[in-house]
Amino acid sequence: MLEIRDLLKSYTEPSGNRLLILDIPQLNIAQGEQVVLRGESGGGKTTLLHIISGIVTADSGSIRLDGTELTAFSESRRDRIRADKMGYVFQSFNLLPAFTALENVRLGMTFARKKLSAERGKELLSKVGLADRMHYRPSQLSVGQQQRVAVARALANKPRLLLADEPTANVDPANQKRIIDLIKEVCRDELVAILLVTHSDEIAGQFERVERLEQINRAFADRIVTPDP
């Protein structure tokens, strides 16, 4: 379902040096597969998620989703694909404070081309155990509840792939397992593949497939420092 080949990404440091962040020869995720990506802080995990979702572009390489090459697309096309086929769970939930839980979930459907029933928002909130909190604003929800809304929002548009960036980093330990179980269960029910980023051993241990960024990313081993001409 997701195929990454020869992906390169570098940044220019303030000093002017080009720093190669990602050099991934290959990464594949099958339909419905649940994968954890582990790595040290600052290693490029979030950057990889941003590239897969089309928020930023790679310097070169191939990213195919269901056989469609994403790197060749314009920004607006990538936005549409992200809206239609991907869901994103952020580390800090990033719920919009002006909107209720239900409206935050429906925001996940607003920009997709496929027309989904407005009832889907309610169904998802029920699935994550927040049927009685639909009309609450984020400020009126607990941290754990906010993250559950974020999970529901990420799945609102029936994505093919869910990208989760340290989804339990701001959640208390008691709720962390519940959130991960929830993500796994809902994605399994909806046949959504998962690429979940974490630096937690405990969370990684709950998944069958764990990839280490240091092992799939050649740039980690030999950071190339090239001054700009």
Binding site: I55, D79, R82, Y88, N94, T110, N157
Partner: protein
């Protein structure tokens, strides 16, 4: 959810800043509406007033504006007088003869056609005598024809809310009958049967001894006639100081002792002031057909008289004075709207730094840059149009609230939904344009938001 509902939710979440910005726009639009309403009322009043029912005003040589102001609006002081016999030059032979027999006095060739009677076929001429006051209102001496023949506004007849028109001679009141305008009756608390006394020369001046009985009160006309006290010209001539004296041929000065009123034993005496002792301040001329220019040119060639088209003078006033003032006021109030637009821009722009993360989240959810830009522009337009709607309502509410005074003063009734100016329908499109322009810079800022950095 759609972009429109997202924009509305963003605005309602920041209630106070949104309300304050809308309030400033409301103030600007309310001022614009007020200026347009007031100028619309003024223009309609002028229009209504300029439909005076006659084509020309003939009076003594002098300022045409002063003659028009005095005759139509009862403002300013009268220009010099012309002889009553000059007024009779506007009558055909049979009417001149009748007038001569009715009044008496010295008039050469009373049965010939008047010099200007050729132009008057199918029309009429009405004499006016002015210079006195009733209270603070102008007193006009005229004939019953003023209300029997003239029309006002949209070709309407003069009607009386109470009583009737005065007549040439009444068995009850002799020559001393009067009709007052609606405003005069209201402010001076007059009714049918009240007696009014004219003051000579100025409001609050010495009153004449003979009073005039009010026999009619006009319905409101929305013209200056609402503020006029009209007395029988025959009675006017019997008041002290209204007799034309002999004048020295060389110097033109008054010959003392010649301005004597006729002897009368009772108030109901039928003695009239003879023609050769009468003068008029103005002659209202109504013409049938395109004879106006010919008559105007003929009169203006004389050394002592002028003929003025009141519509031309009034239109000139509108064009040269009222219109520029209106546009100047509109420019000032539009500046207020511009300042409000800048406050919209500043308000939304300042909120962009707080909203960078929200924008990045929406982009991460699949919103394109165009989606985000559209949301910001919609917010800006909603503030402008919403504030404008409040201002429109407030501006229009002032009209009906002031109707008690406005209708009495101008005859124009302002309804809440009435559009008083051709410029007013442009307010809404103008607000949309203002909203879009004010939103462009914040929208560009949102457009350039870096998703990766903001997340």
């Amino acid at each position: 959810m759609n972009l429109f509902s997202i924009a509305i939710r963003n605005l309602t979440y920041r209630k106070l800043p949104t309300a304050l910005t809308m309030l400033s726009m409301a103030l600007g639009v309310a001022l614009v509406v007020l200026v347009l309403t007031i100028s619309g009322v003024i223009e309609r009043t002028f229009e209504r007033t300029s439909n005076v029912g006659y084509n020309l005003i003939v009076g003594a040589k002098g300022s045409d504006i002063q003659l028009t102001f005095n005759t139509v609006f009862f403002l300013s002081q009268p220009v010099e007088n012309v002889k009553y016999s000059y007024y009779m030059e506007y009558l055909p032979g049979d009417q001149r003869q009748k007038e001569y027999q009715r009044i008496g006095g010295d008039l050469p060739e009373p049965d010939r056609n008047g010099l200007y009677s050729f132009f008057m076929k199918g029309g009429f001429a009405i004499p006016l005598c002015m210079g006195d006051y009733v209270g603070s209102f102008r007193c006009i001496g005229t004939t019953p024809d003023y209300f029997n023949l003239l029309k006002h506004g949209d070709d309407l007849d003069y009607r009386f809310s109470k009583g009737r028109n005065f007549v040439d001679y009444s068995d009850d009141n002799g020559y001393f009958e009067a009709v007052v305008g609606s405003q005069v009756a209201y402010e001076m608390n007059l009714d049918i049967g009240s007696e009014i006394f004219a003051s000579h020369g100025a409001a609050g001046g010495a009153q004449h001894n003979d009073g005039f009985r009010v026999v009619g009160i006009l319905e409101p006309t929305g013209t200056p006639n609402d503020r006029g006290a009209f007395i029988n010209i025959e009675g006017f001539y019997l008041l002290e100081g209204h007799v034309a004296p002999d004048r020295d041929e060389r110097s033109g000065t008054e010959v003392k002792g010649t301005a004597n009123a006729p002897e009368r034993d009772t108030r109901l005496s039928k003695t009239r002031l003879p023609i050769d002792r009468r003068e008029v301040t103005a002659i209202l001329v109504k013409l049938e057909g395109p004879r106006g220019i010919g008559l105007q040119q003929s009169v203006n060639k004389t050394a002592f008289a002028q003929a003025v088209s009141p519509i031309s003078v009034i239109s000139g006033l509108l064009v040269f004075f009222v219109s520029p003032i209106k546009w100047a006021l509109l420019a000032i109030t539009s500046l207020v709207c511009l300042v409000s637009a800048i406050s919209i821009l500043v308000g939304i722009y300042n909120s962009m730094s707080e909203r960078k993360r929200d924008i990045a989240v929406m982009r991460a959810l699949g919103a394109s840059r165009d989606h985000i830009t559209s949301i910001i522009l919609v917010e800006s337009v909603l503030i402008a149009v919403g504030g404008g709607a409040i201002g429109w309502i407030a501006g229009h509410a002032v009209g009906p609230l002031s109707n008690t005074w406005t209708e009495r003063a101008t005859g124009v009734r302002i309804n809440f939904f009435s559009i008083n100016s051709v410029q007013e329908p442009f307010i809404v499109p103008g607000l949309i344009v203002i909203g879009i322009l004010a939103g462009i810079i914040p929208a560009l800022s949102a457009y350039r938001t870096s998703v990766a950095k903001s997340l």
